[in-house]
Amino acid sequence: MNAIEVHNLVKRFGTKTVVDHVTMSVAEGEIVGFLGPNGSGKTTTIRIMCGLLTPDEGDGQVLGYDLLTDSLKIKREVGYMTQKFSFYEDLTIGENLEFVARLYQLQPVEEHVARTLEELGLTTRRDQLAGTLSGGWKQRLALAACIMHKPKLLLLDEPTAGVDPKARREFWDEIHRLARDGLTVLVSTHYMDEAERCHRISYISYGKLLATGTVDEVIANAGLSTFVVSGPRLNEVAAALEGKPGVEQVAPFGTTLHVVGSDRKLLEASLKEIKARKDTKVEPGETSLEDVFIQFMAGSKDNMA
């Protein structure tokens, strides 16, 4: 049984279709990354999956429960971490955890709270108001609170936005540890390195799912060719290449230039002249996930409402 199995989900706000026939499945124990530009419908899709929004069309199962009729059961077995911190800022860390433990009827409350605080390393700050925590700590508190009841599925909505690299690393280590114990995770993110730590990724744009698979599959399916240009005066080279047939992206990467296009022949032809320069080197390179996403974004209109 897949942890998530949804078909043709559609959600409209007014006349705007925010989620457009999204079909998705996530196997048990899998970590799936959910990517897409701002306003592409990630949060909305996740909310549908945990029963916080009713889809206008489509159906599906989450943890074997029907999305449309069993949302209460889904809520009990899913851990949902919202994009915006949504615990009580005027309650202390300890009080927030106690509240969650009591709502899920975890017994004994004190033991669960103490253990969670211990794991978080927040035991000494138990009486600090949650609102006074820094962004990174808020995220960790939120994660701790939503795994306290041992959910079978975690839905994380941009859990590491605004978190420093070390905290992010620790966050992902934790997620992998949980997944090894059988937890399924669907996590939305903007970070490429995080996407690469997922077993699979799904890319959504303008409410439509454009690609899904492992990172390598997504890159391969995109059918892009990349060349790495190195040499002097790369600014000038970039300006020269911009707009040439077959050249779809020109992006500086440190001391090199990545030139990307979907038509390899056309791209090579355009690069010929650059290649002919004595001091400039042009070599075939690996297409990165970022190149693919930039390509996707260029292909669809701006999503911002």
């Binding site: 929004l53 009713t54 919202t82 911190f85 949504s86 009080e95 509240f99 969650v100 709502l103 009827q105």
Partner: protein
């Protein structure tokens, strides 16, 4: 695990609400301070039977009967003769300016007519733009006037006797013979103050969660609508209880309001009333999207309930349709209860009808709120 109701989960919600209430110092202080402030302010300020109203006297002769009449009017406490006008025009002007509420004119032939038993007249003009301000003063008038005359003519005892029976106007104010309006206002204020704070506070209950973004999390956790509702409204029963205590004690100490009826009966009725108010507030919060909307809805409800409940104006004085409309406000029923129990010593039998109306409101609002509650963010 019961999906619909669990005391453990309700306990979790209650605990959270109490902590938040305690932390929100300003709101907390307001919930206790505002009732006291309003009670003192309105209790002393509002007076539907005003005394010592400014009056002007127009009297051309200065005989014994005229003097007796003026001093008798002054003795009533209603009239305070600030001006002695030389002419009717001057008095007219004073009234037009609003400097006086009454003009008392005693004609020059007054004494002559009294002596001749030729139906003496005095003219009292009242500024009736605020009818309630003038009504008390006018209603005591004929009694006072005839008694003053009789006193002056004291020697004809049996004639006075007959004249008295013809002239005397009986002003009989039951339950509040001195017409002290605080006896009426202060118990009413209990209802108004409770309504103000209870409805306002609970009308923000859900919108506050929505605006702070915590609603999403709350809905994602296994709390049922009934638990959330009770978790939100029950803490305010405690606040209401404190307010009731404050108002009742102040009523006794500051205004010496008599308390004739049973305290426990009144408190039970107050409990039902407060419950209906917090559920009404909560119902509002299920309809409003923002705290601003919640405020507006509250005030939309508030003004008619003040005007039509019988707090501001006598209920029986309103046209029939307005009386029917007044019945839909819990305040209307509560005012009847509180006045009946405090001032008339009514027993349960006497107020059973009003209490059942309040119970009906409780179930109505609770049902409406549960029906309106959105389990999703749609």
């Amino acid at each position: 695990m019961n999906a619909v109701f669990s005391f453990a989960r309700l306990g979790a919600l209650l605990m959270k609400e109490f902590i938040q209430m305690r932390r929100d110092r300003i709101t907390f202080a307001m919930m206790l301070g505002v009732p006291l402030m309003q009670l003192v302010l309105f209790g002393f300020a509002i007076n539907s039977d005003p005394k010592s109203l400014p009056a002007a006297l127009v009297a051309t002769s200065n005989d014994q009967y005229t003097r007796a009449m003026v001093s008798a009017l002054q003795m009533t406490d209603y009239y305070r003769f600030d001006y002695v006008a030389q002419s009717a025009e001057e008095a007219e002007e004073l009234m037009a300016k609003g400097a006086v509420s009454f003009v008392v004119t005693i004609p020059s032939d007054f004494a002559r007519r009294v002596e001749r038993r030729d139906s003496p007249q005095i003219l009292i003009e009242a500024d009736a733009t605020d009818p309630s301000a003038a009504s008390g003063a006018v209603s005591t008038l004929s009694t006072v006037a005839s008694q003053a005359l009789l006193r002056e003519q004291g020697m004809q005892a049996e004639a006075a006797e007959t004249a008295k029976t013809q002239l005397q106007v009986v002003v009989h104010k039951r339950y509040n013979p001195e017409g002290i309006s605080q006896y009426n206002i202060v118990p009413g204020l209990l209802g108004v103050i409770l309504q103000m704070t209870m409805v306002m506070m609970t009308s923000m209950a859900l919108t506050r969660e929505t605006e702070r973004g915590t609603m999403e999390n709350l809905l994602a956790m296994p709390a049922s609508p009934a638990e959330i509702m009770l978790g939100k409204v029950l803490p305010f029963l405690v606040v209401g209880a404190v307010q009731v205590a404050v108002v009742l004690v102040a009523a006794k100490l500051l205004f010496a309001i008599p308390f004739i009826g049973s305290l426990s009966l009144l408190l039970s009725a107050v409990l039902v009333f407060v419950l209906s108010l917090v559920l009404l507030g909560y119902t509002i919060s299920t309809m409003a999207r923002t705290q601003m909307q919640a405020m507006q809805l509250t005030f939309f409800f508030f003004l008619p309930s003040l005007l039509l409940s019988g707090f501001m104006f006598p209920y029986r004085g309103m046209p029939d349709w307005a009386q029917v409309l007044g019945e839909i406000f819990p305040l209307t029923h509560f005012l009847r209860i509180v006045r009946a129990v405090m001032l008339k010593g009514a027993d349960f039998q006497a107020i059973a009808g009003e209490v059942s109306a309040l119970v009906l409101f409780v179930f109505l609002f609770a049902g409406l709120a549960l029906f309106r509650f959105r389990r999703t963010l749609d």
